[in-house]
Assembly symmetry: C2
Amino acid sequence: MRIVVALGGNAIQTREERGTASEERAAVREACEGLASLAASGHELIVTHGNGPQVGRLLLLNASAPRHVVPMPLDLLVAQTQGELGCVLQQELGPALARAGAARPVVAIVTQVLVDASDPAFLRPAKPVGPYLSDEEATALRRAGVAVGRAPRGGWRRLVASPRPREIVEEEALRALVAAGAVPVACGGGGVPVLREGEALRGVEAVVDKDRAAALLVRASGADLLLILTDVDHVFSGFGTPEARPLARLTVAEARGGLERGEFPAGSMGPKIEAAIEVVESGARAVITSLEAAAAAVEGRAGTSIGPM
Amino acid sequence: MRIVVALGGNAIQTREERGTASEERAAVREACEGLASLAASGHELIVTHGNGPQVGRLLLLNASAPRHVVPMPLDLLVAQTQGELGCVLQQELGPALARAGAARPVVAIVTQVLVDASDPAFLRPAKPVGPYLSDEEATALRRAGVAVGRAPRGGWRRLVASPRPREIVEEEALRALVAAGAVPVACGGGGVPVLREGEALRGVEAVVDKDRAAALLVRASGADLLLILTDVDHVFSGFGTPEARPLARLTVAEARGGLERGEFPAGSMGPKIEAAIEVVESGARAVITSLEAAAAAVEGRAGTSIGPM
Protein backbone atom coordinates (compact mmCIF):
# COMPACT_ATOMS: atom_id res chain seq x y z
CA MET A 1 0.00 0.00 0.00
CA ARG A 2 0.95 3.60 -0.49
CA ILE A 3 0.47 5.32 2.87
CA VAL A 4 0.49 8.98 3.88
CA VAL A 5 1.59 9.08 7.52
CA ALA A 6 0.65 12.20 9.48
CA LEU A 7 2.81 12.54 12.57
CA GLY A 8 1.01 14.64 15.15
CA GLY A 9 2.77 16.97 17.52
CA ASN A 10 2.12 14.31 20.15
CA ALA A 11 3.85 11.63 18.10
CA ILE A 12 7.07 13.62 17.62
CA GLN A 13 7.00 16.01 20.54
CA THR A 14 9.07 15.55 23.62
CA ARG A 15 7.12 15.11 26.84
CA GLU A 16 9.54 17.15 28.94
CA GLU A 17 8.74 20.19 26.80
CA ARG A 18 12.07 21.90 27.27
CA GLY A 19 12.33 21.70 23.51
CA THR A 20 16.03 21.00 23.10
CA ALA A 21 17.28 19.72 19.79
CA SER A 22 18.27 16.39 21.33
CA GLU A 23 14.83 15.83 22.89
CA GLU A 24 13.27 16.64 19.54
CA ARG A 25 15.59 14.17 17.84
CA ALA A 26 14.86 11.40 20.36
CA ALA A 27 11.11 11.79 19.81
CA VAL A 28 11.55 11.78 16.02
CA ARG A 29 13.81 8.71 16.25
CA GLU A 30 11.12 6.75 18.08
CA ALA A 31 8.57 7.71 15.43
CA CYS A 32 10.97 6.69 12.66
CA GLU A 33 11.41 3.18 14.06
CA GLY A 34 7.66 2.73 13.66
CA LEU A 35 7.69 4.14 10.13
CA ALA A 36 10.63 1.91 9.18
CA SER A 37 8.75 -1.21 10.19
CA LEU A 38 5.87 -0.16 7.90
CA ALA A 39 8.34 0.25 5.04
CA ALA A 40 9.89 -3.11 5.85
CA SER A 41 6.42 -4.67 5.42
CA GLY A 42 6.51 -3.41 1.83
CA HIS A 43 4.50 -0.21 2.13
CA GLU A 44 5.38 3.00 0.30
CA LEU A 45 5.47 6.01 2.61
CA ILE A 46 4.84 9.73 2.31
CA VAL A 47 5.41 11.53 5.60
CA THR A 48 3.92 14.73 6.93
CA HIS A 49 4.23 16.24 10.39
CA GLY A 50 2.98 18.91 12.76
CA ASN A 51 5.17 21.80 13.87
CA GLY A 52 3.38 23.31 16.88
CA PRO A 53 6.29 23.44 19.35
CA GLN A 54 8.79 24.42 16.63
CA VAL A 55 6.81 27.31 15.17
CA GLY A 56 5.94 28.36 18.73
CA ARG A 57 9.65 28.63 19.54
CA LEU A 58 10.34 30.68 16.40
CA LEU A 59 7.42 33.03 17.15
CA LEU A 60 8.78 33.50 20.64
CA LEU A 61 12.31 34.21 19.36
CA ASN A 62 10.94 36.73 16.88
CA ALA A 63 8.76 38.37 19.54
CA SER A 64 11.80 38.87 21.75
CA ALA A 65 14.15 39.92 18.94
CA PRO A 66 16.62 42.73 19.58
CA ARG A 67 15.36 46.04 18.20
CA HIS A 68 17.54 45.96 15.06
CA VAL A 69 16.46 42.47 14.00
CA VAL A 70 13.38 42.48 11.81
CA PRO A 71 10.90 39.70 12.65
CA MET A 72 9.90 37.29 9.89
CA PRO A 73 6.26 36.73 8.90
CA LEU A 74 4.50 33.57 10.05
CA ASP A 75 4.49 31.89 6.62
CA LEU A 76 8.29 32.01 6.44
CA LEU A 77 8.54 30.71 10.01
CA VAL A 78 6.48 27.70 8.92
CA ALA A 79 8.97 27.26 6.05
CA GLN A 80 11.81 27.41 8.58
CA THR A 81 10.22 24.62 10.63
CA GLN A 82 9.89 22.54 7.44
CA GLY A 83 13.65 22.88 7.04
CA GLU A 84 14.37 22.06 10.67
CA LEU A 85 12.06 19.07 11.11
CA GLY A 86 12.64 17.89 7.55
CA CYS A 87 16.33 17.71 8.34
CA VAL A 88 15.81 15.80 11.59
CA LEU A 89 13.44 13.39 9.83
CA GLN A 90 15.98 12.84 7.04
CA GLN A 91 18.71 12.15 9.60
CA GLU A 92 16.59 9.69 11.57
CA LEU A 93 14.33 8.04 9.00
CA GLY A 94 17.03 7.33 6.40
CA PRO A 95 19.18 5.27 8.80
CA ALA A 96 16.07 3.66 10.42
CA LEU A 97 14.95 2.42 6.99
CA ALA A 98 18.43 1.03 6.32
CA ARG A 99 18.44 -0.79 9.67
CA ALA A 100 15.03 -2.27 8.88
CA GLY A 101 16.31 -3.57 5.53
CA ALA A 102 14.16 -1.10 3.60
CA ALA A 103 16.76 1.50 2.55
CA ARG A 104 15.25 4.32 0.48
CA PRO A 105 16.11 7.94 -0.13
CA VAL A 106 14.30 10.22 2.32
CA VAL A 107 13.88 13.81 1.24
CA ALA A 108 12.01 16.72 2.75
CA ILE A 109 10.57 19.21 0.29
CA VAL A 110 9.52 22.74 1.10
CA THR A 111 5.78 22.66 0.45
CA GLN A 112 3.29 25.41 -0.18
CA VAL A 113 -0.48 24.94 -0.13
CA LEU A 114 -2.85 27.21 -1.99
CA VAL A 115 -5.63 28.77 0.08
CA ASP A 116 -8.51 31.03 -1.01
CA ALA A 117 -8.56 34.71 -0.09
CA SER A 118 -12.34 34.31 0.24
CA ASP A 119 -12.03 31.50 2.80
CA PRO A 120 -14.35 32.42 5.70
CA ALA A 121 -11.56 31.49 8.14
CA PHE A 122 -9.89 34.82 7.29
CA LEU A 123 -12.91 36.66 8.74
CA ARG A 124 -12.62 34.90 12.11
CA PRO A 125 -9.00 34.12 13.00
CA ALA A 126 -9.38 31.37 15.60
CA LYS A 127 -6.11 29.43 15.81
CA PRO A 128 -3.94 30.53 18.78
CA VAL A 129 -0.21 30.77 17.97
CA GLY A 130 2.93 32.00 19.65
CA PRO A 131 3.71 33.13 23.18
CA TYR A 132 1.24 33.97 25.93
CA LEU A 133 0.66 37.71 26.20
CA SER A 134 -0.05 40.10 29.06
CA ASP A 135 -3.12 42.39 29.00
CA GLU A 136 -0.90 45.29 27.87
CA GLU A 137 0.77 43.31 25.07
CA ALA A 138 -2.61 42.02 23.88
CA THR A 139 -4.08 45.54 23.81
CA ALA A 140 -1.11 46.87 21.84
CA LEU A 141 -1.39 44.07 19.30
CA ARG A 142 -5.15 44.54 18.92
CA ARG A 143 -4.62 48.28 18.29
CA ALA A 144 -2.14 47.29 15.55
CA GLY A 145 -4.89 45.27 13.89
CA VAL A 146 -3.73 41.84 15.06
CA ALA A 147 -6.38 39.43 16.35
CA VAL A 148 -5.90 38.18 19.92
CA GLY A 149 -7.97 35.89 22.11
CA ARG A 150 -8.10 34.85 25.75
CA ALA A 151 -6.15 31.68 26.45
CA PRO A 152 -8.02 28.98 28.41
CA ARG A 153 -5.45 29.03 31.22
CA GLY A 154 -5.19 32.83 31.47
CA GLY A 155 -3.43 35.51 29.46
CA TRP A 156 -3.88 36.16 25.77
CA ARG A 157 -2.56 34.72 22.54
CA ARG A 158 -2.38 35.91 18.98
CA LEU A 159 -5.05 34.36 16.73
CA VAL A 160 -4.51 33.55 13.06
CA ALA A 161 -6.79 32.12 10.39
CA SER A 162 -6.68 28.43 9.56
CA PRO A 163 -7.99 28.36 5.98
CA ARG A 164 -8.77 25.18 4.09
CA PRO A 165 -5.90 24.00 1.86
CA ARG A 166 -7.02 23.64 -1.79
CA GLU A 167 -3.98 22.38 -3.66
CA ILE A 168 -0.35 21.47 -3.08
CA VAL A 169 1.83 23.74 -5.20
CA GLU A 170 4.69 21.22 -5.33
CA GLU A 171 2.40 18.32 -6.34
CA GLU A 172 4.36 17.37 -9.48
CA ALA A 173 7.68 17.22 -7.66
CA LEU A 174 6.06 15.12 -4.95
CA ARG A 175 4.80 12.61 -7.51
CA ALA A 176 8.22 12.46 -9.19
CA LEU A 177 9.80 11.54 -5.86
CA VAL A 178 7.19 8.88 -5.12
CA ALA A 179 7.66 7.43 -8.62
CA ALA A 180 11.42 7.29 -8.01
CA GLY A 181 10.92 5.20 -4.88
CA ALA A 182 11.84 7.94 -2.43
CA VAL A 183 10.09 8.67 0.86
CA PRO A 184 9.08 12.34 0.62
CA VAL A 185 8.52 14.45 3.70
CA ALA A 186 6.01 17.10 2.61
CA CYS A 187 3.46 19.63 3.85
CA GLY A 188 5.26 20.01 7.19
CA GLY A 189 3.23 22.05 9.65
CA GLY A 190 0.31 21.88 7.19
CA GLY A 191 2.35 23.55 4.43
CA VAL A 192 3.16 27.21 3.85
CA PRO A 193 -0.18 28.89 3.03
CA VAL A 194 -0.09 30.97 -0.16
CA LEU A 195 -2.58 32.92 -2.23
CA ARG A 196 -2.43 32.90 -6.01
CA GLU A 197 -2.49 36.43 -7.41
CA GLY A 198 -2.48 36.11 -11.19
CA GLU A 199 0.64 34.06 -11.75
CA ALA A 200 2.30 35.16 -8.51
CA LEU A 201 2.23 33.33 -5.20
CA ARG A 202 2.03 35.31 -1.99
CA GLY A 203 2.51 33.87 1.49
CA VAL A 204 -0.14 34.70 4.07
CA GLU A 205 0.15 34.90 7.85
CA ALA A 206 -2.05 31.91 8.59
CA VAL A 207 -1.59 28.26 9.48
CA VAL A 208 -3.05 25.26 7.72
CA ASP A 209 -4.25 22.30 9.72
CA LYS A 210 -1.78 19.48 9.13
CA ASP A 211 -4.44 16.77 8.96
CA ARG A 212 -6.33 18.66 6.24
CA ALA A 213 -3.05 19.06 4.34
CA ALA A 214 -2.43 15.34 4.82
CA ALA A 215 -5.78 14.61 3.14
CA LEU A 216 -4.60 16.65 0.15
CA LEU A 217 -1.36 14.67 0.12
CA VAL A 218 -3.36 11.44 -0.18
CA ARG A 219 -5.04 12.75 -3.32
CA ALA A 220 -1.88 14.28 -4.80
CA SER A 221 0.15 11.11 -4.33
CA GLY A 222 -2.56 8.60 -5.21
CA ALA A 223 -2.18 6.97 -1.78
CA ASP A 224 -4.39 4.14 -0.54
CA LEU A 225 -4.37 5.04 3.14
CA LEU A 226 -4.11 8.05 5.42
CA LEU A 227 -2.57 6.99 8.72
CA ILE A 228 -3.04 9.72 11.34
CA LEU A 229 -0.79 9.15 14.35
CA THR A 230 -1.70 10.91 17.57
CA ASP A 231 -1.52 10.29 21.33
CA VAL A 232 -4.48 7.88 21.61
CA ASP A 233 -4.95 4.40 20.14
CA HIS A 234 -8.54 5.06 19.08
CA VAL A 235 -11.17 7.65 18.42
CA PHE A 236 -13.60 7.54 21.35
CA SER A 237 -17.30 8.11 21.43
CA GLY A 238 -18.24 10.17 24.47
CA PHE A 239 -14.57 11.07 25.04
CA GLY A 240 -14.02 12.50 28.50
CA THR A 241 -17.32 11.11 29.87
CA PRO A 242 -17.93 7.96 31.93
CA GLU A 243 -19.49 6.40 28.80
CA ALA A 244 -16.30 6.83 26.72
CA ARG A 245 -15.66 3.81 24.54
CA PRO A 246 -13.06 3.24 21.83
CA LEU A 247 -14.34 2.86 18.28
CA ALA A 248 -12.82 0.20 16.01
CA ARG A 249 -14.78 1.43 12.99
CA LEU A 250 -16.53 4.58 12.02
CA THR A 251 -18.57 5.10 8.86
CA VAL A 252 -18.54 8.46 7.11
CA ALA A 253 -22.16 8.97 8.19
CA GLU A 254 -21.31 8.23 11.84
CA ALA A 255 -18.26 10.49 11.66
CA ARG A 256 -20.34 13.33 10.27
CA GLY A 257 -22.97 12.81 12.97
CA GLY A 258 -20.33 12.94 15.68
CA LEU A 259 -18.87 16.15 14.22
CA GLU A 260 -22.33 17.75 14.17
CA ARG A 261 -23.00 16.74 17.77
CA GLY A 262 -19.65 18.26 18.77
CA GLU A 263 -18.27 14.91 19.93
CA PHE A 264 -14.87 15.58 18.35
CA PRO A 265 -13.27 18.77 19.70
CA ALA A 266 -12.27 21.41 17.13
CA GLY A 267 -8.71 21.73 18.40
CA SER A 268 -7.81 18.05 18.41
CA MET A 269 -9.88 15.14 17.05
CA GLY A 270 -12.23 17.26 14.91
CA PRO A 271 -9.79 18.08 12.06
CA LYS A 272 -8.56 14.47 12.03
CA ILE A 273 -12.12 13.19 11.54
CA GLU A 274 -12.72 15.81 8.82
CA ALA A 275 -9.52 14.78 7.03
CA ALA A 276 -10.52 11.12 7.30
CA ILE A 277 -13.96 11.85 5.79
CA GLU A 278 -12.37 13.73 2.90
CA VAL A 279 -9.96 10.87 2.19
CA VAL A 280 -12.68 8.21 2.31
CA GLU A 281 -14.86 10.23 -0.04
CA SER A 282 -12.04 10.38 -2.56
CA GLY A 283 -11.82 6.58 -2.51
CA ALA A 284 -9.01 5.86 -0.05
CA ARG A 285 -9.10 4.68 3.56
CA ALA A 286 -8.19 6.39 6.83
CA VAL A 287 -7.00 5.11 10.20
CA ILE A 288 -6.51 7.13 13.38
CA THR A 289 -4.29 5.60 16.03
CA SER A 290 -1.11 5.96 18.09
CA LEU A 291 2.46 5.46 16.91
CA GLU A 292 2.68 2.29 19.00
CA ALA A 293 -0.34 0.73 17.31
CA ALA A 294 0.52 1.94 13.79
CA ALA A 295 1.69 -1.36 12.29
CA ALA A 296 -1.31 -3.29 13.65
CA ALA A 297 -3.67 -0.51 12.56
CA VAL A 298 -2.46 -0.67 8.96
CA GLU A 299 -3.40 -4.37 8.99
CA GLY A 300 -6.82 -3.52 10.41
CA ARG A 301 -6.07 -4.98 13.85
CA ALA A 302 -5.94 -1.73 15.86
CA GLY A 303 -6.94 1.91 15.81
CA THR A 304 -10.12 3.46 14.45
CA SER A 305 -10.71 2.74 10.79
CA ILE A 306 -12.89 5.19 8.88
CA GLY A 307 -14.56 3.76 5.80
CA PRO A 308 -17.48 4.44 3.46
CA MET A 309 -19.80 2.24 5.51
CA MET B 1 22.93 22.64 -21.15
CA ARG B 2 22.34 21.50 -17.60
CA ILE B 3 23.51 24.33 -15.36
CA VAL B 4 24.08 24.53 -11.60
CA VAL B 5 23.53 28.17 -10.63
CA ALA B 6 25.12 29.28 -7.36
CA LEU B 7 23.47 32.47 -6.10
CA GLY B 8 25.87 34.29 -3.82
CA GLY B 9 24.76 36.30 -0.85
CA ASN B 10 25.48 39.34 -3.01
CA ALA B 11 23.18 38.13 -5.76
CA ILE B 12 20.18 37.64 -3.47
CA GLN B 13 20.97 39.94 -0.59
CA THR B 14 19.30 43.25 -0.11
CA ARG B 15 21.59 46.26 -0.19
CA GLU B 16 19.75 48.14 2.54
CA GLU B 17 20.62 45.35 4.96
CA ARG B 18 17.62 45.84 7.21
CA GLY B 19 16.81 42.26 6.34
CA THR B 20 13.04 42.43 6.11
CA ALA B 21 11.18 39.63 4.39
CA SER B 22 10.04 41.96 1.60
CA GLU B 23 13.58 43.19 0.87
CA GLU B 24 14.72 39.58 0.77
CA ARG B 25 11.90 38.74 -1.60
CA ALA B 26 12.64 41.68 -3.92
CA ALA B 27 16.29 40.63 -4.20
CA VAL B 28 15.32 37.02 -4.90
CA ARG B 29 12.77 38.16 -7.50
CA GLU B 30 15.44 40.03 -9.42
CA ALA B 31 17.68 36.96 -9.39
CA CYS B 32 14.79 34.77 -10.56
CA GLU B 33 14.14 36.94 -13.63
CA GLY B 34 17.71 36.21 -14.69
CA LEU B 35 17.33 32.49 -14.03
CA ALA B 36 14.05 32.39 -15.94
CA SER B 37 15.67 33.81 -19.05
CA LEU B 38 18.28 31.03 -18.89
CA ALA B 39 15.49 28.46 -18.68
CA ALA B 40 13.69 30.15 -21.57
CA SER B 41 16.85 29.65 -23.66
CA GLY B 42 16.38 25.92 -23.14
CA HIS B 43 18.78 25.27 -20.28
CA GLU B 44 18.03 22.92 -17.39
CA LEU B 45 18.63 24.52 -14.01
CA ILE B 46 19.65 23.36 -10.55
CA VAL B 47 19.78 26.23 -8.07
CA THR B 48 21.82 26.66 -4.92
CA HIS B 49 22.22 29.73 -2.74
CA GLY B 50 24.11 31.31 0.13
CA ASN B 51 22.46 32.03 3.48
CA GLY B 52 24.84 34.42 5.26
CA PRO B 53 22.36 37.12 6.29
CA GLN B 54 19.63 34.58 7.07
CA VAL B 55 21.70 32.32 9.29
CA GLY B 56 23.20 35.44 10.88
CA ARG B 57 19.73 36.60 11.86
CA LEU B 58 18.82 33.20 13.33
CA LEU B 59 22.06 33.07 15.32
CA LEU B 60 21.30 36.53 16.66
CA LEU B 61 17.74 35.54 17.61
CA ASN B 62 19.03 32.44 19.36
CA ALA B 63 21.74 34.41 21.15
CA SER B 64 19.13 36.81 22.52
CA ALA B 65 16.54 34.13 23.33
CA PRO B 66 14.55 34.45 26.55
CA ARG B 67 15.96 32.24 29.29
CA HIS B 68 13.35 29.48 28.93
CA VAL B 69 13.85 29.06 25.18
CA VAL B 70 16.55 26.56 24.31
CA PRO B 71 18.78 27.70 21.41
CA MET B 72 19.08 25.41 18.39
CA PRO B 73 22.45 24.14 17.13
CA LEU B 74 23.96 25.73 14.02
CA ASP B 75 23.27 22.77 11.72
CA LEU B 76 19.53 23.01 12.36
CA LEU B 77 19.65 26.78 11.85
CA VAL B 78 21.15 26.11 8.40
CA ALA B 79 18.25 23.72 7.78
CA GLN B 80 15.83 26.47 8.84
CA THR B 81 17.36 28.86 6.30
CA GLN B 82 16.98 26.20 3.61
CA GLY B 83 13.26 26.17 4.42
CA GLU B 84 12.99 29.96 4.44
CA LEU B 85 14.97 30.76 1.28
CA GLY B 86 13.75 27.62 -0.47
CA CYS B 87 10.21 28.86 0.05
CA VAL B 88 10.96 32.35 -1.24
CA LEU B 89 12.75 30.89 -4.28
CA GLN B 90 9.78 28.60 -4.98
CA GLN B 91 7.40 31.54 -4.76
CA GLU B 92 9.49 33.73 -7.05
CA LEU B 93 11.11 31.32 -9.49
CA GLY B 94 7.99 29.28 -10.29
CA PRO B 95 6.00 32.31 -11.51
CA ALA B 96 9.09 33.84 -13.20
CA LEU B 97 9.55 30.66 -15.24
CA ALA B 98 5.87 30.71 -16.20
CA ARG B 99 6.12 34.37 -17.31
CA ALA B 100 9.18 33.51 -19.41
CA GLY B 101 7.28 30.69 -21.13
CA ALA B 102 9.40 28.04 -19.42
CA ALA B 103 7.01 26.77 -16.73
CA ARG B 104 8.53 23.99 -14.64
CA PRO B 105 8.03 22.70 -11.11
CA VAL B 106 10.43 24.37 -8.69
CA VAL B 107 11.11 22.51 -5.48
CA ALA B 108 13.52 23.12 -2.63
CA ILE B 109 14.88 20.04 -0.90
CA VAL B 110 16.44 19.94 2.53
CA THR B 111 20.00 18.91 1.76
CA GLN B 112 22.69 17.39 3.93
CA VAL B 113 26.34 17.12 2.94
CA LEU B 114 28.68 14.54 4.42
CA VAL B 115 31.88 15.89 5.94
CA ASP B 116 34.83 14.02 7.50
CA ALA B 117 35.45 14.11 11.24
CA SER B 118 39.17 14.08 10.35
CA ASP B 119 38.90 17.21 8.17
CA PRO B 120 41.73 19.54 9.29
CA ALA B 121 39.22 22.43 9.27
CA PHE B 122 37.86 21.08 12.58
CA LEU B 123 41.25 21.74 14.20
CA ARG B 124 41.25 25.43 13.21
CA PRO B 125 37.72 26.89 13.14
CA ALA B 126 38.14 29.94 10.90
CA LYS B 127 34.74 30.94 9.56
CA PRO B 128 33.16 33.85 11.51
CA VAL B 129 29.42 33.45 12.14
CA GLY B 130 26.71 35.19 14.13
CA PRO B 131 26.59 38.47 16.00
CA TYR B 132 29.52 40.69 16.97
CA LEU B 133 30.57 40.08 20.58
CA SER B 134 31.97 42.28 23.33
CA ASP B 135 35.25 41.38 25.07
CA GLU B 136 33.25 39.95 28.00
CA GLU B 137 30.99 37.84 25.80
CA ALA B 138 33.97 36.56 23.83
CA THR B 139 35.83 35.58 27.00
CA ALA B 140 32.78 33.75 28.36
CA LEU B 141 32.36 31.82 25.11
CA ARG B 142 36.06 30.92 24.95
CA ARG B 143 35.88 29.59 28.51
CA ALA B 144 32.94 27.43 27.42
CA GLY B 145 35.17 25.91 24.73
CA VAL B 146 33.79 27.90 21.80
CA ALA B 147 36.28 29.33 19.31
CA VAL B 148 36.16 33.11 18.85
CA GLY B 149 38.23 35.47 16.75
CA ARG B 150 38.77 39.22 16.41
CA ALA B 151 36.58 40.79 13.77
CA PRO B 152 38.37 43.04 11.24
CA ARG B 153 36.26 46.05 12.20
CA GLY B 154 36.47 45.54 15.98
CA GLY B 155 34.78 43.22 18.45
CA TRP B 156 34.78 39.46 18.31
CA ARG B 157 32.84 36.78 16.50
CA ARG B 158 32.30 33.10 16.99
CA LEU B 159 34.41 30.93 14.67
CA VAL B 160 33.26 27.61 13.26
CA ALA B 161 34.93 25.06 11.03
CA SER B 162 34.26 25.04 7.30
CA PRO B 163 35.01 21.43 6.35
CA ARG B 164 35.13 20.17 2.77
CA PRO B 165 31.86 18.60 1.61
CA ARG B 166 32.37 15.01 0.40
CA GLU B 167 28.97 13.83 -0.74
CA ILE B 168 25.37 15.01 -0.98
CA VAL B 169 23.19 12.73 1.13
CA GLU B 170 20.06 13.46 -0.94
CA GLU B 171 21.81 12.85 -4.28
CA GLU B 172 19.33 10.23 -5.53
CA ALA B 173 16.31 12.42 -4.83
CA LEU B 174 18.05 15.31 -6.58
CA ARG B 175 18.60 13.20 -9.69
CA ALA B 176 14.99 12.02 -9.67
CA LEU B 177 13.81 15.63 -9.67
CA VAL B 178 16.17 16.61 -12.49
CA ALA B 179 15.02 13.59 -14.51
CA ALA B 180 11.40 14.65 -13.97
CA GLY B 181 12.12 18.08 -15.47
CA ALA B 182 11.89 19.97 -12.18
CA VAL B 183 14.17 22.80 -11.09
CA PRO B 184 15.56 21.66 -7.73
CA VAL B 185 16.81 24.13 -5.16
CA ALA B 186 19.43 22.21 -3.17
CA CYS B 187 22.42 22.57 -0.83
CA GLY B 188 21.18 25.93 0.44
CA GLY B 189 23.78 27.65 2.59
CA GLY B 190 26.28 24.96 1.53
CA GLY B 191 24.06 22.18 2.90
CA VAL B 192 23.62 20.91 6.46
CA PRO B 193 26.97 19.38 7.43
CA VAL B 194 26.67 15.84 8.84
CA LEU B 195 29.04 13.12 9.94
CA ARG B 196 28.35 9.47 9.22
CA GLU B 197 28.62 7.36 12.36
CA GLY B 198 28.01 3.77 11.34
CA GLU B 199 24.62 4.00 9.69
CA ALA B 200 23.59 7.11 11.62
CA LEU B 201 23.94 10.71 10.47
CA ARG B 202 24.85 13.38 13.00
CA GLY B 203 24.70 17.12 12.37
CA VAL B 204 27.81 19.14 13.27
CA GLU B 205 28.09 22.78 14.23
CA ALA B 206 29.99 23.89 11.16
CA VAL B 207 29.23 25.60 7.87
CA VAL B 208 30.05 24.35 4.41
CA ASP B 209 31.16 26.77 1.74
CA LYS B 210 28.30 27.10 -0.73
CA ASP B 211 30.58 27.21 -3.79
CA ARG B 212 32.25 23.95 -2.78
CA ALA B 213 28.82 22.40 -2.27
CA ALA B 214 27.83 23.74 -5.71
CA ALA B 215 30.79 21.87 -7.23
CA LEU B 216 29.44 18.67 -5.66
CA LEU B 217 26.01 19.45 -7.11
CA VAL B 218 27.54 19.61 -10.59
CA ARG B 219 28.92 16.10 -10.18
CA ALA B 220 25.78 14.70 -8.52
CA SER B 221 23.47 16.06 -11.21
CA GLY B 222 25.70 15.45 -14.21
CA ALA B 223 25.63 19.15 -15.07
CA ASP B 224 27.65 20.72 -17.88
CA LEU B 225 28.27 24.08 -16.29
CA LEU B 226 28.69 25.68 -12.88
CA LEU B 227 27.53 29.29 -13.03
CA ILE B 228 28.69 31.19 -9.95
CA LEU B 229 26.86 34.49 -9.57
CA THR B 230 28.42 37.14 -7.37
CA ASP B 231 28.72 40.93 -7.20
CA VAL B 232 31.37 41.37 -9.90
CA ASP B 233 31.20 40.65 -13.63
CA HIS B 234 34.65 39.06 -13.74
CA VAL B 235 37.45 37.55 -11.76
CA PHE B 236 40.23 40.13 -11.64
CA SER B 237 43.95 39.66 -11.63
CA GLY B 238 45.54 42.05 -9.16
CA PHE B 239 42.12 42.81 -7.64
CA GLY B 240 42.21 45.94 -5.50
CA THR B 241 45.48 47.19 -7.04
CA PRO B 242 46.00 49.79 -9.79
CA GLU B 243 46.91 46.91 -12.14
CA ALA B 244 43.55 45.18 -11.67
CA ARG B 245 42.24 43.79 -14.93
CA PRO B 246 39.25 41.59 -15.63
CA LEU B 247 39.94 38.07 -16.90
CA ALA B 248 37.82 36.61 -19.68
CA ARG B 249 39.45 33.21 -19.38
CA LEU B 250 41.41 31.37 -16.78
CA THR B 251 43.02 27.96 -17.19
CA VAL B 252 43.13 25.54 -14.27
CA ALA B 253 46.92 26.06 -14.11
CA GLU B 254 46.52 29.85 -13.97
CA ALA B 255 43.76 29.55 -11.37
CA ARG B 256 45.96 27.35 -9.20
CA GLY B 257 48.85 29.76 -9.55
CA GLY B 258 46.67 32.67 -8.51
CA LEU B 259 45.41 30.75 -5.47
CA GLU B 260 48.99 29.94 -4.44
CA ARG B 261 50.06 33.57 -4.80
CA GLY B 262 47.07 34.61 -2.63
CA GLU B 263 45.50 36.61 -5.46
CA PHE B 264 42.03 35.34 -4.62
CA PRO B 265 41.03 36.15 -1.03
CA ALA B 266 40.00 33.20 1.16
CA GLY B 267 36.73 34.77 2.26
CA SER B 268 35.41 35.70 -1.18
CA MET B 269 36.90 34.76 -4.57
CA GLY B 270 39.14 31.95 -3.27
CA PRO B 271 36.42 29.31 -2.69
CA LYS B 272 34.79 30.19 -6.01
CA ILE B 273 38.04 29.57 -7.87
CA GLU B 274 38.55 26.31 -5.96
CA ALA B 275 35.04 25.17 -6.83
CA ALA B 276 35.62 26.10 -10.48
CA ILE B 277 38.87 24.07 -10.58
CA GLU B 278 37.11 21.04 -9.09
CA VAL B 279 34.31 21.27 -11.63
CA VAL B 280 36.66 21.62 -14.59
CA GLU B 281 38.73 18.66 -13.41
CA SER B 282 35.60 16.51 -13.34
CA GLY B 283 34.95 17.40 -16.98
CA ALA B 284 32.48 20.28 -16.80
CA ARG B 285 32.94 24.02 -17.25
CA ALA B 286 32.69 26.93 -14.80
CA VAL B 287 31.87 30.62 -15.21
CA ILE B 288 32.08 33.32 -12.56
CA THR B 289 30.10 36.49 -13.19
CA SER B 290 27.33 38.78 -11.95
CA LEU B 291 23.60 38.17 -12.15
CA GLU B 292 23.28 40.89 -14.78
CA ALA B 293 25.83 39.23 -17.07
CA ALA B 294 24.63 35.66 -16.47
CA ALA B 295 22.86 35.05 -19.79
CA ALA B 296 25.78 36.44 -21.84
CA ALA B 297 28.26 34.51 -19.70
CA VAL B 298 26.54 31.18 -20.40
CA GLU B 299 27.03 31.91 -24.11
CA GLY B 300 30.69 32.70 -23.51
CA ARG B 301 30.27 36.44 -24.12
CA ALA B 302 30.82 37.70 -20.57
CA GLY B 303 32.24 36.74 -17.20
CA THR B 304 35.34 34.71 -16.44
CA SER B 305 35.30 31.26 -17.95
CA ILE B 306 37.45 28.62 -16.27
CA GLY B 307 38.47 25.75 -18.50
CA PRO B 308 41.08 23.00 -18.75
CA MET B 309 43.38 25.18 -20.85
